[in-house]
């Protein structure tokens, strides 16, 4: 990944450290990831704050996001222009908010943004329908979808306007026991999780050396709440 000095100045690193939940090393690693996404676009030297943006299509293909049904929304809600083009700052911001250390309030705000598909600052029924369809790969019948959405709104709509404002959303989400852990993106080092898994299974890599394993185990053991 190269030398520290050539990528960021010390001040920049300090600033990033203050603004995110990452250490210097992690920021440098993130830069590495960012650079990998579009090697021809992203310069190695960031000391003079180049104005570079990586388009959504590239970011969405990162292993961390690839399988996420809300990947486009995630990227869009973190992009400054709302179209999904991420500058490095946005990129760091995204990983910072979705990191383990970010507090519940912050996560709630961005979660609200993510689930607000039509960007009207309310989660209305269409948003819920989209969410649900993405979550279930459209395997529910329209009646079921309708029922679920109505129930969800009924449960958490406090002011009776038939859509969820941020206050409603936050009130609901703050009591969810596994919200914090669910909205948590792991930035893996370089390998795809799948590769990790395969290598674990075939025994070429010791199982403790990667995080994909944890994920898989967790998914295997723990999933839903009825």
């Amino acid at each position: 990944m190269g030398n520290k000095q050539t990528i960021f100045t010390d001040e920049q690193l300090d600033a990033y450290q203050d603004c995110t939940f990452f250490t210097r090393k992690e920021i440098l690693r993130l830069h590495g990831r960012y650079h990998e996404l579009a090697p021809h676009l992203v310069p190695m030297d960031y000391t003079n704050d180049p104005d570079v943006k990586v388009p959504l299509a590239l970011i969405v293909n990162m292993p961390e996001l690839k399988e996420n049904p809300f990947r486009n929304r995630i990227v869009e809600s973190f992009s400054e222009d709302g179209l999904g083009n991420l500058s490095f700052n946005d990129f760091v911001d995204m990983f910072s908010v979705l990191s383990e250390m970010a507090p519940r309030e912050l996560k709630a705000i961005y979660a609200f943004k993510i689930y607000d598909f039509n960007v009207d600052n309310f989660i209305c029924k269409e948003d819920l329908e989209k969410t649900l369809n993405k979550l279930t790969k459209e395997e529910l019948t329209p009646e079921e979808v309708n029922l679920v959405c109505e129930k969800a709104i009924e449960e958490s709509d406090l002011d009776g306007d038939n859509k969820l404002s941020f206050a409603d959303f936050e009130n609901m989400i703050s009591r969810a026991p596994d919200f914090l852990s669910s909205l948590h993106l792991q930035h893996l080092s370089d390998t795809l999780i799948q590769n990790d898994l395969q290598s674990v299974v075939t025994g070429t890599v010791p199982p403790w050396s990667n995080s994909g394993l944890n994920v898989y185990l967790r998914d295997t053991m723990v999933v839903s709440r009825t």
């Binding site: 809300f70 309030e105 279930t136 679920v148 026991p177 993106l185 792991q186």
Partner: protein, 873 residues
């Protein structure tokens, strides 16, 4: 006296090191002058070569002992005399002999030397002799053991001589060290020059090997190389903590009768033979009150560790539970946000694997469907009588099978006691108890699951029932096992009481006879006979070790069964399904056998149960902890492999989250239940008189009393006397009960006020909703009152806000959210989030289009609960 020197070296580490360095440096300098350059090279001979040499020499080592001692003796004598000329003759000899024995420790002791030793031993102390005699006999054992033994023997000797001439040696430690250094250097010189010596090859190899061993051993002690720390640690451990080594006293030695078979595999697998008399079990530990110069009190610390483990575990479990209760405070009101939570928190953002993602999609879909079904079922009401009957039936069946399994185990354990008195048993008969218990553990859970189908509970509740039942099964089995075991122990104890005297008498008689024989045989009344070999002394029974063995066996068989189940039930099945699928009539993967599911709850329960066994058994078998550490480590990787390669996720998966106190509750229960038998033994059963750290005491607990009486200042004893007074204990208990009562009522009061507040919030929320929707009161009375107003029925329809199109929402500017938040806070309690920072990053813009009215949804969403739909006119 080597050992004493070494120990002292260890004790005065900082000083010693400095000295060593200096001396070493000086000597090296000298050496470089005097020796050829070759010497330097050989200072650190290549490992491989050295090892090879040693091996070669090892083969030829046997016969050349004589030569060796001849060749070495002058040298050693010279060394000894030079440095400690002033020393008393006896100790000089002693040390010389010591050194010699050290040299010979690898080979078989030759006759001449043995004689020499024996004659010298007469002057030495008895215990050292013991060990030596043992040493000579225990040829058959592994070399490592021999080695250890020797070291310990030295230590023993040292401690005895400490008492004799402590002050004298204190001043000599410097000299001793220097002498030792010199010897090491001499040996090194020898190693370097051995190829120039005009000796036969055999002798050369022999000498080389010994010299290398010597150097290896003492270089560490003298602070060169990294061996030193390890060595120091070893010496410390042995001296301070371990007490006497294996084979030094009867309880640490395999009895003569058992010795021929003690190393047999089958015997070891039953944890008899050498295993039975090893550190693994209670019986090994000596009741010597203090060990070493630190006065390590082994019996006391044995007891304290036993009790302390329980105290610590209790504390940890309860703290975790309390923390969980704190975190999962809102857990009680699951029902409130079922759908919303599912919608927004069920996707796990960590998922990066497409297969996992697919599973997740499927599981989310099923969970949604389940919730929908639940929701629909909430309304309708089935034949409650049939269901009730089925549930009672299911519980009856399960109780029956629980009782049956308990009886089976009791029966089997009883039978095993009969078997214990018989010889030539088959493998099955020997391991019947363990096999039956494991089989029950295998068969019963699926049986329960089948029976539970009758009950038709909600899956989550069904899971808890299932877990509770399996738990009851395990626990019942364990307790039956334990009761049967204690039956046996009690029988043994009563037998022991009557036997104790006779065994002691037998021992004394045996000793007398032995000495008489000795004198008669030797015709020499002046010579003290060598002490009786510990293997020959008659021994009493040791029920603690028996209990420990049972636990260890149980654990081991549990491990075996678990591993085999995984191997056959998971791996083999997966293999068959995978590869036979190519040539089979139906789809094996999707159809009947399919892959095994990973049973998370069963595994967790297994862990809990295993932990219970550790708690219960580790008092009788301290080694159980080690075995379990190994087991857990291996099973983690093994099961991980199995999960990754041949399991599929459970079809109906449940949260085993950290905030779930259910498992912790089980853990607490089993901790408490495993505490009982152990405390019972400590407090009321008399320990075996012939083994273990508490032998000779009427109760195990007396160790503490003894400690208080002998080692603590007298006032502590009096304080304890007061504290233990019932007059003080009863009020204390009373006080605690009162405190519990008080705290309980306080928490109840809080609970009440909490509920009260919740109700208020709910009311305020409903009120708010309705006011926005129809500007109408929800309160029936108020409504009636309003209806009674004269012109109400003629009033114009509510303002057109309700019919305002909902389509405007997309146009609302970002600022509106902020508005919403503020508004919410102003008018209702329901936002319930005083610290909500919200997306209020901008100053509130101009007020949005009024209080946002709900549009009337076709399904009648807005007016929930008591609320009416918007008034129609």
């Amino acid at each position: 006296m080597f050992a004493s020197v070494l120990v002292r070296l260890v004790n005065t580490k900082p000083k010693g090191r400095g000295n060593n360095r200096r001396q070493a440096a000086g000597r090296r300098g000298k050496k470089v002058e005097s020796e050829e350059e070759e010497d330097e090279d050989e200072d650190e001979p290549p490992k491989g070569r050295r090892g090879a040499n040693r091996k070669k020499a090892g083969k030829k080592a046997q016969g050349s002992e004589n030569e060796d001692s001849d060749g070495d003796a002058p040298k050693r004598r010279r060394g000894g005399n030079k440095k400690k000329g002033a020393k008393v003759q006896e100790s000089d000899e002693d040390s010389e002999e010591d050194a010699k024995s050290k040299k010979n420790k690898r080979g078989a002791a030759n006759k001449k030397q043995k004689e020499e030793q024996n004659s010298k031993d007469k002057k030495g102390d008895a215990k050292g002799k013991d060990a030596k005699g043992k040493d000579a006999k225990g040829k058959g054992k592994g070399k490592g053991k021999d080695d250890d033994k020797d070291k310990k023997k030295k230590k023993k000797k040292d401690s005895s001589s400490d008492t004799n001439s402590g002050s004298e040696e204190e001043s000599m430690s410097e000299g001793e060290m220097a002498r030792l250094m010199e010897e090491v250097e001499e040996k090194k010189k020898l190693i370097a020059n051995i190829r120039n010596k005009p000796w036969r090859m055999k002798r050369r190899l022999m000498l080389l090997r010994e010299a290398q061993q010597f150097v290896d051993k003492f270089e560490g002690a003298l602070g060169k190389g990294k061996g030193r720390k390890l060595y120091a640690y070893k010496v410390m451990m042995m001296k301070v903590l371990m007490g006497l080594p294996y084979g030094s006293i009867p309880r640490k030695t395999v009895p003569r009768a058992d010795q021929p078979t003690a190393m047999d595999y089958s015997v070891l697998m039953d944890f008899n033979g050498y295993c039975k008399y090893s550190v693994l079990f209670y019986g090994y530990y000596n009741n010597q009150r203090t060990i070493g110069f630190l006065k390590f009190r082994l019996p006391l610390s044995y007891l304290m560790v036993g009790i302390g483990t329980f105290a610590y575990s209790l504390m940890v479990v309860i703290r975790t539970m309390a923390k969980n209760a704190d975190v999962g405070g809102g857990d009680g009101e699951d029902g409130e946000f079922t759908f919303a939570w599912k919608m927004f928190t069920s996707w796990d953002y960590l998922i990066g694997n497409s297969e996992t993602a697919d599973n997740k999609y499927a599981s989310i879909t099923t969970s949604f469907k389940e919730s929908i079904v639940d929701e629909q079922e909430n309304q309708k009401d089935e034949n409650i009588h049939l269901r009730r009957f089925l549930r009672v039936l299911a519980n009856f069946l399960i109780t029956c099978s629980l009782g049956g399994s308990g009886y089976l185990i009791y029966f089997v354990v009883k039978r095993s006691q009969d078997f214990a008195n018989m010889d030539n048993l088959s493998w099955y008969e020997k391991n019947e108890v363990e096999i039956i218990m494991s089989l029950l553990g295998l068969v019963c859970p699926p049986l329960f699951e089948t029976i539970a189908e009758l009950e038709d509970y909600h899956p989550r509740i069904a899971l808890k029932w299932q877990l509770g039942r399996i738990f009851a099964l395990f626990l019942g089995n364990l307790y039956t096992f334990l009761f049967a075991l204690f039956d046996e122990v009690n029988a043994k104890l009563s037998l022991e009481q009557s036997n104790e005297d006779s065994i002691k008498n037998a021992t004394i008689w045996y000793m007398k006879e032995y000495y008489a024989n000795f004198t008669a045989y030797n015709n020499d009344t002046t010579a003290t006979p060598p002490p009786v070999n510990p293997a020959d002394i008659i021994r009493g029974p040791c029920w603690e070790t028996t209990v420990g063995i049972e636990f260890v066996k149980l654990t081991v068989s549990d491990i075996q069964v678990t591993y085999l189940t995984i191997l056959i039930g998971d791996f083999l099945r997966a293999m068959i399904v995978r590869f036979l699928n190519y040539c089979w009539c139906w789809d094996l993967e999707a159809g009947f056998p399919s892959y095994a599911e990973f049973d998370i709850s069963g595994n967790v329960l297994g862990l809990v149960f295993n932990q219970g066994m550790i708690w219960m058994g580790s008092f009788y078998a301290p080694g159980l902890v080690g075995i379990n550490v190994l087991r857990l480590l291996t099973s983690m990787y093994y099961q991980c492999w199995a999960v990754m390669s041949c399991n599929v996720p459970h079809e109906r998966v449940f949260k085993a989250s950290k905030s779930n106190n259910f498992y912790m509750g089980l853990l607490l229960l089993i901790l408490f239940l495993s505490l009982l038998p152990v405390v019972y033994t400590i407090m009321s059963l008399p320990p075996s008189f012939d083994c273990g750290p508490f032998s000779g005491k009427p109760k195990m607990f007396d160790v503490v009393i003894e400690f208080i009486d002998l080692d603590l200042p007298s006032f502590v004893g009096t304080i304890f006397g007061y504290v233990a007074n019932p007059g003080l204990i009863i009020p204390a208990v009373l006080l605690m009960v009162l405190a519990i009562y008080y705290l309980n009522s306080v928490s109840e009061a809080y609970q009440n006020s909490n509920n009260e507040l919740k109700k208020k919030m709910q009311m305020a929320r409903d009120e708010e909703k309705n006011r926005r929707n129809n500007k109408d009161s929800t309160n029936q009375v108020m409504k009636d009152l309003e209806d009674l107003l004269p012109n109400r029925s003629l009033a114009p329809p509510p303002p057109p806000e309700n019919s305002e199109p909902s389509g405007k929402s997309p146009k609302v500017k970002p600022g509106a959210a902020a508005n919403g938040v503020n508004l919410q806070k102003d008018v209702s309690l329901a936002s319930a989030n005083p610290n909500a920072r919200g997306p209020v990053t901008r100053p509130p813009g101009p007020r949005g289009p009024g209080p946002l009215p709900g549009h009337s949804a076709p399904g009648g969403g807005p007016g929930r609960g008591r609320g009416q739909g918007p008034p129609r006119t």
